[in-house]
Amino acid sequence: MKIIVPIKQILDPSGVTVRRDKERIFINKEAYILEAGSKAAIEAALQVRDVDGGEHEIVAVSLGEPRADDALREALAMGCDEAYLLTDEAFQDADISVTTAVLAAAIEKLGGADLVIAGQASADTGSGQVGARLAEALGYACVTAVYELAQEAGGLQATRRWGTGYARVQVSLPAVVTVAPEAFPPRYAHGARIMDAYRKWEVTIWDASDLELGTGALQPLLSFRRESFPAPLEVGEKFQGDPAEVARDVVTALRIQNLIA
Amino acid sequence: MDFRLSEDQLMFKKMFADFCTKEIRPRGEHIDQAEEPPVELLQKAVDQGFWAALVPEELEGCGLDTYTYMLMLEELGRADLSTALILSVHNSLVVKPLLEHGTEEQREKYLEALAFGEMLGAFALTEAGAGSDAAALSMEAQRNGEGYVLNGTKIWVTNGAQAGLILVFARAPEGITAFLVEAETPGLTVGYREKTLGLRGAACNTLYFEQVAVPVGNRLGEEGQGLKIALQALDLSRLGMAALALGAAERSLEEAVKFSMEHIQFSVPIAQKQIIQNYIADAKAQIEALRCLVTHTAWLADTGQEFSQEASITKLFGARAATQVADRMLQVHGGYGYMKEYAIERYYRDCRALEIAEGTNQIQQFLIAKDIYQAEGLDIRP
């Protein structure tokens, strides 16, 4: 099976301070990391291989600045077999539609995939659309927010979030699956693979012309006007009084909001 | 100037030294490992006057002057620092304030019990929000008819779980006030026992006060005088800590001298190496300087002179000297110094508390500087 994992590099949030009172974001330390959702996606792909030990090929692709090279090498260190960096000045202003188009073109150029595994939503922009749009663009089946994944005859069995519970679904291949980050805590890369990732292995770089993408496909649908802070969250309800009564009231309130069964 | 000890002082020193060497010293390792106050040993010490050091002779106590009391603490420090701390808190921080500020009835009621082994004393000042800043304490003492009701929590109370009588500082309507609280008083409970780096034989506990009723007769001094009483007691106690430091440093040196003469490397006792000699010499220099400080400050106290600044200086110098000496003397032991069979391992851990308890080094520095500037008419703040 050929598994393609689109991954993303983001600004390390631990170096960022959000000052709502000043309506500003301070970058104290500019460092870039492989985003947690992407790591979970890589982990999910590696687990597919771990389960049957089969000859699965796992390929990481990333659309980003040249520095995303580091994210791809981390993917190699974790266990991916190949890595492709999709980078071009023309991708600078990519919105979700452009991102999807570029990723889809890269997957086509790789000869398509049996399975595409992506993070559910990235930690920075967090639209949660890439997986579904990719499936649409490629004409693959799609399951999102997956917690468990297993191969079975003719396709996959996936457990995904469903309302307040879970649903077990079957999908045929090829498919795009997005995974819930908490369900696939990533492994540590082996030290020797970390060394090899930089010393031995290569990241292939593709630009717009390699992907045969014309200006039409690279025209964003969204344009940037300004950014602002979301309205502060409303302060929750406060319960006071006798502990037993308070406990009862809290449970009732949670039930009304459908947060617990 | 005559630095010789008087006959009396010599006699007491010998008596204390005998007991410390024979009874306490051999148990040091056990006390540390058991992590329990050496109750039996402390009881034995009653007969030797360790509990009654400062109690006047008229009341069957030893009636020691400050200097002789320091000799006692030095011997204790040399034998075992845990035991030494227990007795130092008892004498300096409970018996002494009671003698100085107690009413006739209070002395009548408690002195005998304190002096003869029925009641151990504890001193409860520190709170979660009030360590160096003792004046920030928040324990409440509300007036209630004939007395007070205490509410709040004290932490790090040495002897807290063993004490029969606890000197407690709380905020009354007129300000911080000292109270003599009996351990058995309803509403007073013993909480968490601190697990400490060293001084493991001296137990520090949290004490919870919930609606603890204290009769007005158990108020020590006037309402609002508590901080003054505490600071005055701490003056003597800080000097006492320096005497413990002196004893501890002497013991550390003794251990290292012995080890360096017995331990052979490169075909000679390591005592033949110049750097070892230097460590030993520096330790001795620090010890003798500390001894002079202790002696001088005790003399100030005994001649009725102001000695608050000197007590801080002596404690600051003494705590540092003891930790530095213990550290170098451990180094003389090489790998053996890291092993629990060697007393130096314990002394190294024990001494470290001296730089924190009863006012950190930084607070002593502040107090000294404050005194200096005050004399020049400038008020400085911590």
Binding site: - | A130, E194, G335, G337, R349, T360, F366
Partner: protein
């Protein structure tokens, strides 16, 4: 001059940091209390190649060199010195001796499993009468047919009781002394006659074991002679030279953790109505920590670079251990002071750090011995011998 870490080392550090934060740190106070070696951590570390960081891939290692090894030790030093000591004694002295002077066959047979972490190493030098004076060892090795027969006892051996392989220095010709009369051996600890005497009860690094190793007619095949016959003293000293750089790296980590904890506590703790961080007594202490840490970091990684590029490094490695252990001492001591009574409590990791740190001024050559080594190096060019 480029002072940045190569990218693979940056990623490696990130991986190690996550590993130690998640797997090592939560156990630090537990293994101290329970006085036990964290075998579970060692297994996990082995699975990631961490038990063989400096060694080349062809010997089962990770290929990280001294730089990678120092990164590992620094990160371990930040969270737990016990685990650092177990791994350090295994890699830095135990396995290192075989890497430096072993034959190709010895490396394939012994270094590969050690680097992969399927076997654990110890380093057997010290004896009751031979600590700083390593040449005064009494353990003997006598030739008997194709074997050597070892008799004697080693003390203070880290990992002694958990090791599969222990490198041992023994006297083969008393007449020849240190140079010529001492030979190094690789001993498998399942050899008949090898036993563990007492285990030490220590102030700190209680999650690492320190054992007495007794050799009673232990037969070692002659293939297990490590390095030149009669040149064991050199093998051991050369090993210690390298070990000192990584030991310094561990102290760097300890110092950094002490500073970080101090910063956080000084911000949080209020006395006299303000955070204690606002007081000069407190923030000057922290500033001093930062300066010493910066100096130490430069020293450590420059020395790692000297080692990795095959340049002379004896003085510098000694300086790493000497300066590092003293910087770490001052940093953790200041951290304890800043934490007040809290720092004196065994509920706080500062207290553990304070106990653990103290060993670094003693083992792998006391700081006095380091000063002698450094001075000897400085006077040697003038033909002046510095006696020990």
């Amino acid at each position: 001059m480029d002072f940045s870490f190569p990218k693979e080392y940056q990623l490696f550090r990130r991986m190690v940091r996550e590993f130690v934060e998640n797997e090592v740190k939560p156990l630090a106070m537990v293994i101290d209390r329970e006085h036990r070696v964290p075998h579970e951590t060692i297994k996990k570390a082995a699975a990631l190649g961490l038990m063989g960081v400096p060694f080349p891939a062809k010997y089962g290692g990770m290929g990280g060199g001294e730089m990678g090894y120092c990164i590992l030790m620094e990160e371990l030093g930040k969270v737990d010195s016990s685990t650092g000591t177990v791994i350090g004694a295994h890699i830095g002295i135990g396995a290192m001796a075989i890497y430096l002077d072993g034959t190709e066959e010895q490396k394939q047979k012994f270094l590969v499993p050690l680097a992969q972490g399927t076997a654990i190493a110890a380093f057997g030098l010290t004896e009751a009468q031979a600590g700083s004076d390593a040449a005064a060892i009494k353990t003997t090795a006598v030739r008997d047919g194709d074997d050597f027969v070892l008799n004697g006892a080693k003390v203070f051996i880290t990992n002694g009781d958990i090791a599969d392989i222990i490198t041992v220095m023994a006297v083969t010709d008393p007449a020849l002394g240190a140079y010529g009369g001492i030979t190094a051996f690789i001993v498998e600890t399942d050899s008949p006659g090898f036993s563990i005497g007492s285990l030490e009860n220590k102030m700190g690094i209680r999650g690492s074991s320190t054992a007495e190793c007794v050799f009673q007619d232990v037969r070692v095949p002659k293939e297990n002679v490590l390095g030149q016959f009669g040149a064991g003293f050199l093998t051991f000293m050369k090993t210690l030279d390298i070990g000192r750089a990584s030991l310094g790296a561990a102290t760097l980590g300890g110092a950094e953790a002490a500073m970080e904890a101090s910063i956080q506590w000084a911000r949080a703790r209020e006395q006299f109505g303000v955070p204690i961080a606002t007081k000069q007594s407190v923030h000057f202490m922290i500033a001093d920590m930062a300066v010493e840490i910066e100096a130490l970091r430069s020293l450590i990684y420059r020395t790692a670079w000297l080692i990795d590029t095959g340049q002379p490094h004896i003085l510098e490695a000694s300086a790493c251990k000497l300066f590092g252990s003293e910087v770490a001492h001052r940093c953790i001591d200041r951290a304890m002071q800043i934490h007040g009574a809290l720092g004196y409590s065994r509920d706080h990791f500062i207290e553990l750090g304070w106990r653990d740190q103290r060993i670094s001024e003693i083992y792998e050559g006391t700081n006095e011995i380091q000063r002698i080594v450094i001075a000897a190096n400085l006077f040697r060019p003038y033909g002046l011998r510095i006696p020990t």
